[in-house]
């Protein structure tokens, strides 16, 4: 059987690898972006000089031949679903490619909200190698960059320019950075962190238009407050959307993304969609239809491989988790943590006096079940948190065993008893930390069914 995968990002490549593990099918991965799979999340580190592109490629070149995964550098311009054929443009010429089963994993594209000047030169997002090349091209002698959109990519871009001592103005629509996801305190930590890094953070400020220098290149922006900010590059980081433009007006059912059922099947037989470009018709409770994150892409890649290899399995991403790094502050989240939580969500929150570390633990006020963990500058162990969340463990058991979750390096100061203290103050109870960190204890806990 001949399987074609469009897109060589984490979703497409994970699918290819798992299909190879499970079967002997003929696999071809098609991409016009790069010759080899690289880690998209590492784009910033290439710009910052921490790695070269080579280092961001998880597999050596001989890996693909050894695993019989064909790589094709071409752009899919059209799909003929009736005859199961891809129309490719490859270095100027048009080619056809027949498939038996097709996986679409085309990822995302940068959001543009119809701003005047959004297609000028010197305006770009941060999603692909080509985007990175654009940033690089405009970085020479750059006096200032303006970044529009306060999400994860925006702050990465700010850090990138900052690493080269390029002044940055960061326009954020919200009252506080990423406060539609982060609870208020954590959001404030990041506001401070952005300012400590000398980024010109403009909260409650939106882009109105990008100014043309008269030669088709951006040389400034005008904000909704009427201020003009001169700059040599405008970074658009107000989110992404599924990259499915080339699929509009085809037989394929699309909404925001390509509509898929829980088996990641589209409305057309033998056509699947995974990763950022897929939209779940019936998302699981508490989850969104489109989840453009690395981890879900990876899980979908594995799920689709099972389904293609006739082992039907539903896509089930399990307990929510995510992570990021804001300049020097690491962030981890497990479970249900909301910026504007419903009434039954109670949270205990500890923050380091220096204001660069925090732990938030959320539980249900009525039945005292654990609901989520939100961490800044402190590392917790995924499997331990997941087990507590899955088993809906009582908050007091979690707190007393909290040492098990600690994942910080050896000799680091531990803060578990601080958070218990706060719980005790709040409730008048007298809990103490019963389980300390340690691999033996963790293994025993995880193996205990």
């Amino acid at each position: 059987m001949r399987i074609a995968i469009i897109g060589n990002g984490i979703s497409g490549i994970t699918a290819a690898r798992w299909i190879r593990k499970l079967s002997d099918h003929d696999i071809t991965v098609i991409s016009s972006e790069s010759d080899y799979f690289y880690s998209r999340t590492a784009l910033m580190y290439i710009y910052m000089g921490h790695m070269r592109q080579k280092e961001t490629q998880p597999y050596e070149i001989h890996f693909w031949k050894k695993n019989r995964i064909n790589l094709l550098k071409a752009h899919v311009s059209r799909i003929d679903f009736n005859t199961k054929k891809l129309i490719l443009s490859q270095s100027g010429s048009v080619k056809e490619f027949n498939y038996d089963k097709l996986i679409i994993a085309t990822g995302s594209a940068t959001n543009k909200f119809g701003w005047p000047g959004q297609d000028l030169k010197g305006v770009g997002g941060l999603y692909s190698l080509q985007d990175l090349q654009t940033m690089e091209n405009y970085s020479k002698n750059l006096k200032r960059a303006v970044i529009v959109g306060g999400g994860l990519i925006g702050i990465e871009m700010a850090e990138m320019f900052h690493s080269r001592n390029i002044p940055v103005t960061f326009l954020v629509r919200e009252k506080s950075y990423w406060n539609n996801v982060l609870p208020a305190e954590e959001s404030k930590i990041i506001n401070r962190c952005i300012k400590d890094n000398h980024i010109d953070l403009r909260l409650e400020t939106e882009l109105k238009e990008i100014v043309d220098d008269g030669h088709g290149t951006a040389n400034g922006v005008i904000t909704n407050k009427g201020e003009k900010i001169e700059c040599g590059f405008v970074g658009l980081t107000a989110g992404v959307h599924p990259n499915i433009k080339f699929l509009k007006n085809t037989a394929l059912e699309i909404g925001r993304g390509i509509k898929v059922n829980e088996y990641l099947e589209t409305n057309i037989k033998d056509v699947y969609a995974i990763g950022d470009c897929a939209e779940q018709i019936n998302p699981l409770v508490g989850r969104r239809g489109v989840e453009a994150i690395w981890y879900t892409g990876k899980m979908m890649g594995e799920t689709v491989a099972y389904n293609i290899c006739n082992k039907r399995v539903k896509y089930n991403p399990g307990i929510w988790f995510n992570s990021a790094k804001f300049f020097d502050i690491e962030y981890q989240v497990y479970g249900n943590v909301q910026a504007h939580p419903p009434e039954n969500h109670t949270s205990i929150y500890w923050e380091h006096p220096k204001g660069d570390k925090s732990i938030r633990i959320i539980f249900d006020q009525k039945n005292e079940e654990i609901l989520g963990f939100n961490l800044m500058g402190v590392r917790y162990r995924h499997e331990v948190c997941e087990k507590w969340l899955k088993e809906k463990t009582n908050i007091e058991i979690v707190l007393q065993d909290l040492g098990l979750a600690n994942f910080d390096p050896e000799f680091y100061k531990k803060y578990e008893s601080e958070i218990i203290k706060i719980y005790n103050q709040k409730t008048g109870k007298n809990l103490t930390l019963k389980k300390k960190s340690g691999l033996n204890r963790v293994v025993a806990f995880l193996k205990y069914k």
Partner: protein, 453 residues
């Protein structure tokens, strides 16, 4: 991707320019280095004067450079521009440095008369510390110790947010200064032969030989203590410590070679080869050298017992070949001279027989491993890039698998540079035999997402 290196020039570069204080610091280092070069060239103006100029220039310059580089910056990972700078990305400066250091090693080992000037300026210090004039090994020890301490301070300041890195570096600095420099100097002052209590058989291939034992027994009680330590360390202390903490207890906390690699070698850690081919070469080479050194010691004893009747000249030739090829050429000239080209742990990874033994223990019987935090890995590659031992850490981390590799020296940098906090160095006795299984990997199975077990 065309991202050019534009920062080789000290005077001007686009965005990664040196600040004023860094330039002043480099001027001091330059002055000190000039002093050394002049004396290396054989011009002797005033021993004490030239020594002070070099020593103060390099010390003040390097401390100032450390301060100028990291002060006022928020503590955190400082790898910006590593692959843009010539010094850390095999550029012109790196090649010049490699050639000069290699040349110094060649002179040191085989043509010490060519560095006579350098030796002579160390006389005042040597007389003060050891009560006798300097020789090339005293000069080498001084350079080595100064490098470990100055670059150790730089490393500590660079990683000042990381307690593990701070403690580990204080440890290697102390072992170098006390056990490999001050104690040998003090022993010399007491008219006792040099003893380095941080190197043991088989890394020290002279130890445990018949003539070594004889020379120690001649010293009386002190000699017996030395022999006892020489036997206890490799055969009793090492297996116990490696079982408890992994080979890191030695390689990145105690050892002098490791000490230099972790401090002076830190700017070059990203240059280690991560390919599977390099891993294969590593496994062959390091174990062959282990066999060679065991054979060397065995042959010498064999020869000793049969009073040179059997294999007499062969053993002598073999001994000389090992001393030249492995002990000098590999561990010294290539091991350190090639830091800026091949990374800082070439000897430790491909050559060191002590590392080979520690590695076998670590691989098969140790509580130590690096654990990966569930499915949090984003495959970015920082861990693999900054692994000085060339381990492809990412290939394990992205599967959520424990990392148990013979070569891992437990420096902890992978865990430090990981932008998602995925890695942790840990010791646990409960599952020593199951460490390498994909035990904790979270992934989807036919039934559901679950922990594989």
């Amino acid at each position: 991707m065309n991202i050019s290196d534009s920062s080789l020039s000290i005077a001007h570069s686009e965005n990664n320019s040196l600040n004023t204080l860094q330039k002043i610091a480099l001027a001091f280092v330059g002055l000190g280095t000039l002093g050394l070069l002049i004396t290396w060239a054989g011009v002797n103006i005033s021993s004490l004067g030239m020594f002070l100029v070099s020593f103060i220039g390099i010390t003040v310059g390097s401390l100032l450079f450390t301060y100028a580089s990291y002060s006022g910056k928020i503590p955190g990972i400082k790898n910006n521009g590593v692959f843009f700078k010539g010094i850390s990305a095999q550029g012109v400066v790196a090649w010049i440095l490699a050639i000069v250091v290699t040349g110094f090693y060649v002179c040191l080992y085989w043509f010490p008369h060519l560095i006579e000037g350098l030796i002579r300026i160390h006389d005042p210090l040597s007389v003060a510390l050891r009560g006798k004039v300097a020789d090339q090994w005293f000069v080498y020890g001084t350079f080595y110790t100064v490098a470990v301490i100055l670059m150790g301070i730089k490393f500590i300041y660079k990683y000042r947010h990381n307690t593990y890195q701070i403690l580990r570096t204080i440890s290697v600095m102390s072992f170098q200064l006390i056990f490999a420099y001050l104690i040998p100097a003090f022993l010399a002052l007491m008219n006792k032969p040099d003893e380095y209590f941080s190197y043991f058989w088989p890394l020290d291939s002279y130890a445990l030989r018949p003539d070594w034992i004889e020379s120690k027994t001649a010293l009386g009680t002190f000699g017996y203590v030395v022999i006892a330590i020489g036997l206890l360390m490799p055969f009793v202390v090492t297996p116990i410590m490696t079982y408890l903490y992994g080979k890191r207890w030695y390689c990145s906390w105690v050892c002098g070679c490791g000490g230099l690699a972790e401090t002076a070698g830190d700017p070059f850690r990203q240059l280690s080869d991560k390919s599977i081919t390099a891993w294969k070469i590593e496994r062959w080479m390091i174990h062959i050298i282990l066999v060679l050194v065991v054979l060397l010691t065995a042959l010498l004893w064999f020869n000793h017992i049969f009073e040179n009747q059997i294999l007499g000249s062969f053993t002598l030739g073999y001994k000389k070949a090992y001393a030249f090829g492995i002990a000098s050429m590999f561990s010294g000239v290539i091991g350190v001279g090639f830091y800026p080209i091949m990374g800082s742990r070439v000897w430790c990874r491909f050559g060191c027989p002590m590392a080979a033994i520690l590695g076998l223990q670590q691989k098969f019987f140790s509580r130590f491993r690096i654990t990966a935090n569930g499915s949090q890995c984003i495959s970015c590659g920082n861990c693999s890039t900054y692994c000085e031992m060339g381990i492809d850490v990412r290939s394990y981390a992205e599967k959520g698998q424990d990392i148990v590799r013979a070569s891992c020296v437990g420096c902890g940098i992978c865990a430090a540079v990981c932008p998602r906090g995925v890695l942790k160095l840990e010791n646990g006795s409960s599952d020593v035999m199951e460490r390498t299984e994909e035990l904790r990997a979270i992934h989807i199975s036919e039934d559901e997402i679950k922990l594989m077990s």
